[in-house]
Symmetry: C2
Subunit: 227 residues, 2 copies
Amino acid sequence: MRKCVVLLSGGLDSTTALAIAKSEGFEPYALTVLYGQRHEVEVEAARRVGVALAVSDHKFVTVGLRQFGGSSLTSEVDVPKDRTAHDLTEGIPSTYVPARNTILLALALAYAETIGAFDIVIGVNTQDYSGYPDCRPEFVEAFENLANLATRAGSQGAQFLIHTPLSNMSKVEIIGKGMELGVDFGMTHSCYDPDESGHPCGRCDACLIRQRAFAELGMKDPATVDG
Amino acid sequence: MRKCVVLLSGGLDSTTALAIAKSEGFEPYALTVLYGQRHEVEVEAARRVGVALAVSDHKFVTVGLRQFGGSSLTSEVDVPKDRTAHDLTEGIPSTYVPARNTILLALALAYAETIGAFDIVIGVNTQDYSGYPDCRPEFVEAFENLANLATRAGSQGAQFLIHTPLSNMSKVEIIGKGMELGVDFGMTHSCYDPDESGHPCGRCDACLIRQRAFAELGMKDPATVDG
């Protein structure tokens, strides 16, 4: 089996991306990056998903992005709440973390090179947040090009591939695909601003996008049932 | 003055790169990345250099690369000692850290975007370690291309530039340039394997390259005088 490194936040997207990678025959190694936005509940969600989907190994790496701030996820700025579906498509939200996906992919590349993997899976998609620059296909292509120049393996002829299995899927399609693959979304966590006991706020962009997608499917978000 | 972010390890190269950026009229912001190889003595060297060269701000960011290992700098593998000048030009040494410069530049990019800087300075050079893939000009160009796609600023038309002022300089030329700019190399630290009190081992690649360069200039390495 061909190894791959999956960037796993424990949210809905990265969990589905992991399930897809498994269904395609990859042996998954999970990487969860704790960059200063993380609440313990999110780390636990990532850990649960890793166990449930039987990853071969799971690394948790801390990066102190709170040093820089510049995002409502890594500073004391409030995350936006109660935005309409239209608001969500407007511009780049304050939850944008400068260079986040570049940092996540750089760490995944380091992990991949140390375990002899050449495939990296990231659950970015362009439909929900068309504004995030580091979710665009041209960004992903540029990183792939970089990866082959940046590494010992690449300089010796290996070809790294960055897989974005969700790139053109809507949230509804992602949920549908995940359910088809047997994912229990009750174990995932997406909220940007959970309360102290870890319950999702239900009002941030991440919560609203989930709720609206599950509602469109005639379902209630299983992560919010029984808290 | 135009702000720049300088990746500052506290070694001879990054210190000279910082001095050059200042001499070119940049207002420098220093970033020291603690990626698991760092001894307290190295952090202190970076801090001293930042103070001596009057950087406008100095961030220290920790990244847990020991999670991955894969390098004699981030694992318990011994760093090579007593290698000849010829050995040093052969292949990629065990001190290569997978994806290191990609990670360093990604973090510098995050810092730059949060402070509104578009210039990043990294002290890579191709002469001493021709083997390190992530010191090559084509790597740096690929990162520059990536930076403009990865960021809010780049997607809105800003142009990030990665400066490698040392790229074609030998260690002797770097020391000469640093001295011309008034750098006190006694405050820098390059050793991969200092003893518990912080003294350089004198036998690792980093020490040997320094010693040989100072010897070629008819000098003793000021960092080793009086310990």
